[in-house]
């Protein structure tokens, strides 16, 4: 970001314009553009799901383990359910889970990281230590553990993944805040006598949004990754909800006779995570985060 230190903090409208211009600038970044296209593709699929799915997601039929054919482009599973339909329905599950979990992580992590860096001293020490300890548990292990207590299910998976994001987003928010908090416009607000809450929300937050946006895209990708892994372990979304990780887990007994049951959900997961990671990389380049 090329901005003189003497500038006052830009307003919300400028921020939104700025965000759009970042997306427009993705045109020049092949990787970011590819990511954007993949994600937009999946968003369209998710919105149009009811119109493009030929069957019901939990509709049984007599055609069990049918290989891919014009009637069933991706084949059918052991209950005769159409895999094409289930993959598309699964994109809704994936988006719902990943968007909510990322949002939860962004709100929690930003609140903790921003206030830790802003107040410094003991607040920072205690919050920092807490985040370190949370981070010393691998995310998947925390998720497994908490799901053991809460029981599996969609809402619980969202909460668990969101919590797992908090320390990592918190660390990013903290270091971004540290770079901003001593600039003139923050000083100016302090001299004007604004409250801490106002300075954090209206002065610092808009200036770390770029960083948070990139981190959000990375965490979105990781949410898909984690929820698929949890589904695979049988701790995530429960059947008969169409979930990609769960589909792969169920396909394992039939790898010999029906490999398509593993291949298509795997491609779906991989493409969505890859798309989000490409997008994050592109955004990082256009916002100047990556060298």
């Amino acid at each position: 970001m090329e901005k003189s230190n003497l500038d006052l903090s830009p307003g919300l409208l400028d921020r939104i314009k700025n965000g759009f211009s970042h997306v427009l600038k993705l045109r020049e970044k092949p990787l970011g553009l590819a990511g954007l296209i993949i994600i937009v593709f999946w968003i369209l699929i998710t919105i149009l799901a009811p119109y493009i799915t030929p069957y019901g997601a939990t509709q049984f039929s007599q055609e069990k383990f049918a290989p891919p054919s014009p009637q069933h482009p991706f084949g059918t599973d052991r209950w005769g359910r159409d895999l094409f339909t289930r993959i598309i329905a699964g994109s809704r599950t994936a988006f719902a889970l990943a968007l909510s979990a990322t949002f939860l992580g962004l709100v929690g992590g930003t609140a903790l990281g921003l206030s830790a860096a802003y107040f410094g001293g003991w607040t920072e020490e205690i919050l920092g230590r807490l985040m370190d300890i949370l981070m010393s548990f691998p995310a998947l292990l925390i998720a497994m553990f908490v799901l053991g207590v809460l029981g599996p299910g969609t809402i619980n998976v969202i909460i668990v993944i969101g919590i797992a994001h908090i320390p990592r987003i918190g660390r990013v928010a903290r270091s971004a805040t540290l770079q901003v908090k001593n600039q003139e416009f923050v000083e100016a607000a302090r001299v004007r006598g604004e409250s801490d809450l106002y300075i954090m929300g209206a002065e610092i937050l808009p200036n770390i949004l770029d960083t948070l946006g990139v981190e959000g895209a990375i965490r979105f990708a990781y949410s898909i990754f984690l929820s698929a892994s949890l589904g695979f372990l049988g701790l995530g979304v429960q059947p008969p909800t169409p979930d990609w990780g769960l589909m792969i887990s169920e396909s394992r007994s039939y790898l010999q006779i029906a490999p398509w049951l593993a291949i298509f959900p795997a491609l779906a997961i991989a493409s969505m995570v890859l798309g989000a990671n490409f997008l994050a990389e592109g955004l990082e380049e256009v916002t100047g985060g990556k060298q």
Partner: protein, 319 residues
């Protein structure tokens, strides 16, 4: 140096203590009555009460925590609830050995390759080589290990029949005689980490190459080769040690998916099974092992790092 080591040691110990409290509390919060689970649903109220007092379940929470902790310190991890009569200690040791073999195998594979790729990409940012490596590593971190694992099984077990699809180890035979069973789990486990570490090393190389001291060394008239070996590599690769240490934690916990995919008997799957069977002693022990291993590795890394880079001893500023 000694005071730094001491304070860092104290910090690690505190972290382990806090983690042990968290683990204990979460295990306590698990739904279900342990006595009921052991005796079954037809148990009489008297026998339930008797078993609860035998297991110490009627004592207050903090007393039970200290009982558990002192047991752990004495090396007594209790007996498993789901596998009757099995001592948790020896079970954990066996599983931990398997996990360490898997993690070490992955490390031997990951470290040289990621250093090579990271340095090559970082030397010429923006070049086609850098771009190719960048896309490849993004791909690697986008494939969850169960997908890589299943792809390996589909290719090497189902199609080619070269490797066994299951990696359940036989107790009677040594682990190194069962090496073919380790190949696919190690590959599946390595993918994501290989991607992460390569990217970190690349970023660190780019940062150091653009730093003032690198420019100064070049302006001083040192040859490119000398600048690279004396200034760049040393400063760029040091932070990689920390990244690898952080990822070791991931190797132990992230291994759960790989262990489940291949039926590999490691610590992570022990914890997963214990959670599913409400086997609290096994669960607590397994988790504590992961946390202690992770914190110990980080502590060791910090000390090593300080020895290698004297600047940190005097200033531990912000990133």
């Amino acid at each position: 140096m000694i005071s730094f080591t001491a304070s860092r040691f104290l910090q690690a110990l505190t972290s382990i203590l806090v983690a042990s409290i968290l683990i204990f509390l979460i295990a306590e919060a698990l739904p279900g009555d342990v006595a009921q689970m052991i005796l079954g649903q037809y148990a009489t109220e008297e026998s339930l009460t008797a078993l609860r007092s035998k297991l110490g379940l009627n004592k207050p929470l903090h007393i039970r925590y200290f009982d558990w902790l002192s047991g752990v310190i004495r090396g007594d991890l209790g007996t498993s609830l789901s596998k009757t009569g099995v001592e948790v200690g020896p079970l954990l040791v066996r599983r931990a050995r398997n996990s360490l073999v898997l993690a070490a195998g992955a490390m031997i594979f990951i470290v040289p390759i990621s250093f090579l790729l990271g340095i090559a990409a970082g030397l010429r940012p923006g070049s086609w080589l850098d771009r190719t490596i960048s896309v490849t590593t993004l791909g690697l971190i986008s494939f969850p290990s169960f997908i890589t694992g299943l792809a390996l099984i589909l290719i090497f077990s189902v199609q080619l029949g070269w490797l066994p699809a299951s990696s359940s180890l036989e107790l009677s035979r040594g682990i190194f005689q069962q090496l073919p069973r380790l190949i696919m789990p190690i590959l599946a486990l390595s993918g994501v980490m290989l991607g992460y570490i390569t990217r970190h090393i690349r970023a660190s190389m780019v940062k150091v190459l653009r730093s003032d001291y690198t420019r100064a060394a070049t302006l001083k008239g040192l040859g490119r080769r000398k600048v690279l070996t004396k200034h760049v590599l040393r400063n760029a690769l040091l932070p990689a040690i920390t990244v690898i240490a952080i990822n070791l934690g991931w190797l132990l916990g992230g291994a759960v998916v790989v262990e489940a995919t291949f039926g590999y008997p490691g610590v992570a799957r022990l914890v997963l099974d214990a959670i599913k069977h409400r086997d609290i002693p096994v669960m607590e022990a397994g988790l504590l092992f992961v946390v202690v291993a992770y914190i110990t590795v980080n502590f060791g890394t910090d000390i090593l790092y300080t020895l290698l880079d004297p600047r940190i001893r005097y200033s531990r500023g912000e990133e």
